[in-house]
């Protein structure tokens, strides 16, 4: 790859300037638009300080661009920064957990993209990020790290496709991708129903209704009452219909834009998830870096037989940029198809349907466990006794309602909770209204924990917990399992020493 130190793409300056502009726009409006004619000293000095800060920021952006450099060799990234105090950071490819690529509209204008190589490290410099990089170069980099980061390059044998003539390795990596899923129109429509995104506009409609009646009340006072109502009714129906249409279209458009170009693909070693029509993002992860699989189902999705599948990776951006987080396979997969895709892209994982339920006694433990939420909120309700919708006795109605929903959720949780583990796998299912099915491999589990409180000890129950690498660290617990199972779980985990591969001496 590149053997000498390189600067990042010059567009980075532009991007940072753009971000600076976006962040300072509030101040600009305040200082120069709202307080346009103001002569107060506060505003005067405010403007001076503003200009100073902007100047410093611009200089620092340019200086940063000059001083930040990178180098890519056969094994790692080297990142250099600092003008006077220089620092060098080496990040070996083997530490990279996943790759995130994002092409916004602005990127598209300049024919570039942004790419982030995420590691499992916990400090703020954990990611190697190229915020602007020509597409070709990003492809090169990604391919470079996958080909050198993996121990045995098995890409060559992977080209077994008969109608693909053997090409050079670069082409092979691309053609090797097999597409597992692309949502059809019907599935997208289903998806927009489950996400309820078209309901977003309903509160707007309701408030518009009240506004309208108010306006008509004032404006048409002269005319007869009857005429006024029919008049507004007519208008109202039309408006409601139009608004409903608008909201449905809005919801569909939103779903289509986000999930329209969804694609789940995989090659021999990697999984690729691409989404977005306007703004394209791609998540790439090595198959052996998948720490666990989680399948979640909300109430609505359960009724429709859909499921969201997440691949849990140890990498992740620390900036908490939610939009970048697309470790999720398509969030509205039909459950059968989800299983099929998982077995196709991650043949080393098994998701089974045969799981063991909890014994009856754990239901009682769960039902009688004090609910702090209920005790606390009932206390508050009792103290303040708020009148809701004019009902003065609302406090105990609310309290009982909350208690009922807690009981229902616990009952559901009891029926949903189940588990299984066999030689390499562990699978937990938990959750009341929203369920989650967690599958991991024994060698991916970092540590385990069994605990028993007094009640559990009397009834011969225990809680078990696994800890997995993720960002943040993932604790998955299963409460009130029979104590024998706890022991089995413990000894099961102990056997991992037989299967792990030991690194040869460094």
């Amino acid at each position: 790859m590149t053997e000498s130190k390189q600067r990042y793409h010059p567009l980075l300056i532009l991007f940072h300037l753009w971000r600076l502009l976006k962040n300072s726009i509030v101040f600009v409006i305040y200082l120069f638009v709202i307080k346009f004619g103001s002569d107060s000293t506060f505003i005067k000095y405010g403007r001076i300080i503003f200009f100073l800060l902007i100047g410093i920021s611009i200089i620092s952006i340019v200086v940063k661009w000059f001083s930040h450099k990178y180098k890519v060799d056969d094994t790692s990234f080297h990142l250099y920064k600092g003008l006077f105090a220089k620092s060098e950071r080496t990040i070996p490819f083997s530490k990279i957990q996943n790759v995130n690529r994002r092409t916004t509209v602005i990127h598209r204008i300049f024919n570039v993209t942004s790419i982030k190589f995420e590691t499992g490290m916990s400090d703020s410099d954990a990611t190697v990020a190229f915020e602007a990089i020509p597409k070709k170069e990003a492809d090169h980099l990604e391919e470079h790290i996958t080909n050198t980061g993996v121990d045995e390059p098995s890409t060559n044998q992977a080209v077994s496709d008969p109608d693909m003539p053997p090409q050079d390795s670069k082409e092979a990596v691309v053609s090797n991708r097999r597409i597992h899923f692309k949502p059809t129109k019907k599935e997208l429509i289903k998806a927009s129903f489950t996400s309820f995104s078209f309901l977003v506009l309903i509160p707007i409609i309701i408030s518009a209704y009240f506004k309208l009646t108010e306006i008509f009340h004032v404006g048409k006072k002269v005319e007869g009452l009857f005429l006024q109502i029919t008049h507004s009714w007519w208008l109202l129906t039309i408006i409601v219909i139009v608004m409903l249409f608008a909201s449905v279209i809005f919801g569909f458009a939103k779903t289509f834009l986000t999930y329209g170009k969804y694609e789940i693909a995989s090659s021999e070693e990697q999984i690729f998830i691409t989404k977005g029509i306007v703004e394209e993002t791609t998540f790439t992860i090595s198959k052996d870096k998948v720490q666990a699989i989680e399948m979640t189902q909300s109430l609505m999705k359960r009724l429709l037989g859909l499921v969201e599948v997440k691949l849990i990776s140890a990498g992740g951006s620390n900036d908490g940029d939610e939009e970048m987080e697309i470790n999720s396979l398509y969030p509205f997969l039909p459950i059968e198809q989800a299983r099929k895709i998982i077995s196709e892209i991650l043949p080393s994982y098994e998701v089974t349907e045969e799981m063991t339920r909890l014994p009856g006694k754990s239901l009682w433990v769960r039902l009688f466990r004090p609910s702090w939420l209920w005790i606390f909120s009932t206390g508050l309700l009792f103290y303040f006794k708020p009148a809701v919708l004019g009902i003065t006795q609302a406090w105990w109605i609310l309290s009982i309602g909350l208690l009922l929903s807690i009981v229902v959720s616990r009952l559901l949780d009891f029926f949903h909770t189940s588990y299984t583990f066999n030689h390499h796998f562990i699978q937990f299912q938990t959750g009341g209204f929203t369920t989650s099915l967690f599958t991991s491999k024994r060698d991916k589990i970092m540590e385990v924990k069994i605990s028993r409180n007094i009640v559990q000890r009397m009834l011969g129950l225990a809680s078990i917990e696994t800890v997995n690498r993720a960002k943040p660290v993932r604790h998955t617990a299963l409460h009130d399992v029979p104590v024998q199972l706890g022991e089995r779980f413990y000894t099961w985990y102990k056997k991992r020493e037989n299967e792990i591969k030991i690194e040869s001496k460094q």
Binding site: K444, E447, I450, N453, R457, V473, E487, Y493, I502, E503
Partner: protein, 165 residues
């Protein structure tokens, strides 16, 4: 008791109980001095009524907590804490009311360190902190030689790395 799980055997240092008690007494004395000052200020400047009530509630809670942390907790902690480590796992057991067993593979351990505060130094004790990629575990009080021995031992065991995937 579990029948199949081999419980870890090693215990903490007996001296730890004494030190924990001393430490708690010192912290509590400091806390009660602050409370006393607050009560004096309350009386002297005749603060609002409810402040006095809050102070009384805090005092009651503080008394209960100090009884717990001086007369009960050190003994329970000493009696129930067990640890062990071999070439493949670190095992910890703790908790009187809620009994917890933990199993940490050696290959996942990233660092071990011994810590010694002023009181611990006086009695020749150390605490041992073992951190992995996602969590950290503490063995609260060991005689210094033992702590150092375990530190080196665990560091040696943990040097063997499994292929990280």
């Amino acid at each position: 008791m579990y029948s199949k799980i081999h419980s870890p055997e090693h215990r903490l240092s007996k001296d730890a109980v004494k030190i924990w008690i001393i430490r708690e007494v010192m912290i509590d004395i400091l806390g009660f001095i602050i409370l006393g000052v607050l009560f004096y200020l309350d009386y002297h400047f005749s603060w609002k009524d409810w402040i006095g009530w809050i102070l009384i509630v805090i005092t009651i809670i503080a008394v209960l907590f100090s009884i717990w942390s001086i007369f009960i907790e050190p003994f329970l902690l000493y009696r129930n804490f067990r640890y062990d480590a071999d070439e493949s796992f670190l095992q910890l057991k703790s908790g009187a009311l809620k009994e917890v067993h933990q199993l940490v593979p050696m290959t996942k351990i990233q660092a071990v360190e011994t810590n010694q505060g002023p009181l611990f130094r006086k009695y020749g004790l150390c605490s041992l902190e073992i951190s992995t990629m996602g969590s950290s575990h503490t063995i609260p009080a060991l005689p210094k030689e033992v702590a150092v021995k375990w530190r080196n031992q665990i560091a040696h065991f943990a040097k063997i790395k499994e292929v990280e995937e």
